[in-house]
């Protein structure tokens, strides 16, 4: 790994990388195992440090929202960018940016969510990579619906939906209060059963 790339990686960790730099790190991470390992070590160290810190940003709702989104984003990154390990950007709007340490904690949350979704899902465990799921057709397309794709859905869809369910449950807990959202999370072991599915976007 070149020194320039290492600098870009540090900048990405610090949230100082511009779009071009971030893309470069992402692209290289897909090819460079050393870079991926370095990235993981940075996050591991930061996660350990984060356990001993009392980062005041964690006290705010926006920081927590950021952490939840990091969890979601990490999981999505795993889905959509094979072998690419990267970091998220601060929110575009509606939330607060988080410092390096806060985002490092978010990585740990992200890993937890991703692993829970991936390994806790009986559906996914049963599906070989790339396998589709037999589906039914929903006839009531809305005015802007697009209905010209083949009738298969992918495990990425299930994984993405699981991440969204987790996000919704956490947000419900924040907004409404109550122990039930937490109970839902702590007992979340399986993907929801698909009862109806129809046209995926495209067949790659």
């Amino acid at each position: 790994m070149s020194e320039k790339l290492r600098e870009s990686l540090s900048a990405a960790m610090d949230g100082e990388a511009d779009e071009f730099e971030l893309r470069r790190v992402m692209d290289e991470a897909g090819k460079d195992r050393v870079l991926r390992d370095t990235w993981e070590r940075y996050h591991l160290v930061s996660a350990v440090l984060a356990e001993r810190t009392t980062d005041t940003s964690l006290r705010s709702r926006d920081a927590l929202r950021t952490r939840i989104w990091e969890a979601l984003d990490y999981e999505l990154a795993e889905i959509e960018a094979e072998n690419v390990v990267t970091e998220i950007e601060a929110p575009v709007a509606g939330g607060a940016s988080s410092p390096w340490m806060g985002r490092a904690v978010g990585f740990a949350v992200a890993f937890g969510v991703a692993a829970a979704v991936l390994f806790g899902s009986g559906v996914l465990e049963e599906q070989p990579p790339g396998a589709g799921v037999a589906v039914l057709t929903v006839p009531d397309a809305g005015p802007d619906r697009v209905d010209d794709a083949p009738a298969l859905t992918h495990e990425q869809d299930l994984t993405r939906n699981n991440a969204y369910v987790m996000h919704h449950v956490q947000q419900t807990g924040l907004n409404a209060g109550g122990m039930l959202p937490f109970v839902k999370m702590v007992t979340f072991e399986k993907a929801p059963e698909v009862v109806v599915a129809d046209e995926p976007a495209r067949s790659e």
């Binding site: 984003d73 109550g178 839902k184 702590v186 109806v196 129809d198």
Partner: protein, 344 residues
């Protein structure tokens, strides 16, 4: 016994018992004395439930059924030296514990359990805040009635039915301890009366029976401990980002409580998230550019929570993936999602 109908005489007798219980309760528990005159209304009971979660000491085991799986958990709550302390233990499967001391939270899991930090939104008690805080809106769209008394966890409980006034949301049945208003059981029910989620204590002890030692987490056997700080409830109104989509139709009483925009790291594309609530029920909508892989339109359900994906186009023909997640009937979710319009 859900759906049980009480005769007028039984109901009157029940109210008399309730009044007596409350009178005695008010004498021994000053915290509830202010409710003495209005205690026999659903609202008064819900207010007491809210306080019960925070002010009572309790140690109980409850079950939670989400429509397909049954989980068992133990909760211990007590105020020690003016500090709220709480412990929640997952009794089945992987051992997971949450130990809370004021705003400080420790999550105890065994090695290999990756649900390490999911407790970050652990709140102070089930349901109560939502029912009380959104009461006015709740009244407009839910009908609250006292529905008799039953025995739950070997204790007398008052049942409150929270029935939806339309078919666009689910209802609730709540059983509150007659002596102290603690929530002993709740059901989330469909319009047809189907129970979608059940929460119920099987055993619960109060007051001096709660041992301080029960608040201490079990940290042995190589358990991993993560220390976090509890987040504060969001300010009213939440945060709102400029999202170029609007819902053309929402069920009555639902309003947007938060909106946000984030970028995905994989391609720097943005995901819009919108959250709506009527005070009790809530749903989230996620909007993103059509992914290159997957993105099938599908509907799934786990208990009361539906997940719905749909492909939509904006005015320029660009494709987007919409995902709705929430505690809603299928038809309502479909109608909401199909009504989204581009506002640009």
């Amino acid at each position: 016994m859900p759906g049980r109908i009480y005769s007028a005489s039984a109901s009157n007798a029940l109210r008399l018992v309730q009044a007596l219980v409350l009178l005695v309760g008010a004498a021994v528990m000053p915290v509830f004395a202010a409710d003495r005159d209005t205690a026999d209304t659903p609202h008064a009971w819900l207010e007491r439930m809210d306080r019960a979660f925070r002010e009572l000491s309790y140690d109980g085991t409850f079950s939670y059924f989400n429509g397909s799986d049954l989980a068992s958990l133990r909760v211990v709550h007590k105020e020690v030296d003016g500090v709220q302390r709480e412990r929640l233990v997952h009794l089945n499967g992987k051992r997971r514990e949450i130990v809370r001391k004021g705003d400080e939270v420790a999550c105890i899991v065994m090695p290999g359990d990756e649900l390490l930090e999911l407790e970050s939104s652990i709140p102070s008690g089930p349901f109560a805040r939502a029912f009380v805080r959104g009461y006015q809106n709740v009244q407009d769209h839910y009908r609250l009635t006292l529905a008799g008394s039953e025995r739950i966890a070997d204790r007398l409980a008052v049942r409150i039915d929270v029935q939806s006034r339309d078919a666009d949301r689910y209802g609730y049945r709540l059983w509150l301890d007659e002596a102290n208003a603690m929530l002993l059981r709740s059901e989330l029910v469909s319009a047809g009366g189907q129970r979608l989620e059940i929460f119920q204590f099987s055993r619960i002890a109060f007051g001096n029976e709660v041992d301080d030692a029960a608040l201490r987490g079990h940290e042995g056997d190589g358990a991993m401990i993560s220390h976090l700080r509890l987040s504060k409830p969001p300010a009213s109104g939440g945060t709102h980002a400029d999202v170029p989509w609007t819902a053309a139709w929402l069920p009555g009483g639902f309003r947007m409580t938060a909106s946000d925009i984030r970028r995905k790291p994989s391609d720097l594309s943005s995901v819009h998230t919108l959250m709506y609530s009527d005070g009790l029920a809530a749903f989230s909508v996620f909007i993103e550019s059509m992914p290159q892989q997957g993105a099938g339109s599908m509907r799934s359900r786990m208990g009361a929570t539906v997940t719905l994906n749909r492909r939509m186009q904006d005015g320029e023909g660009a494709e987007y993936l919409f995902t709705l997640v929430g505690e809603l009937p299928d038809d309502t979710a479909e109608r909401i999602l199909s009504g989204f319009e581009s506002s640009r």
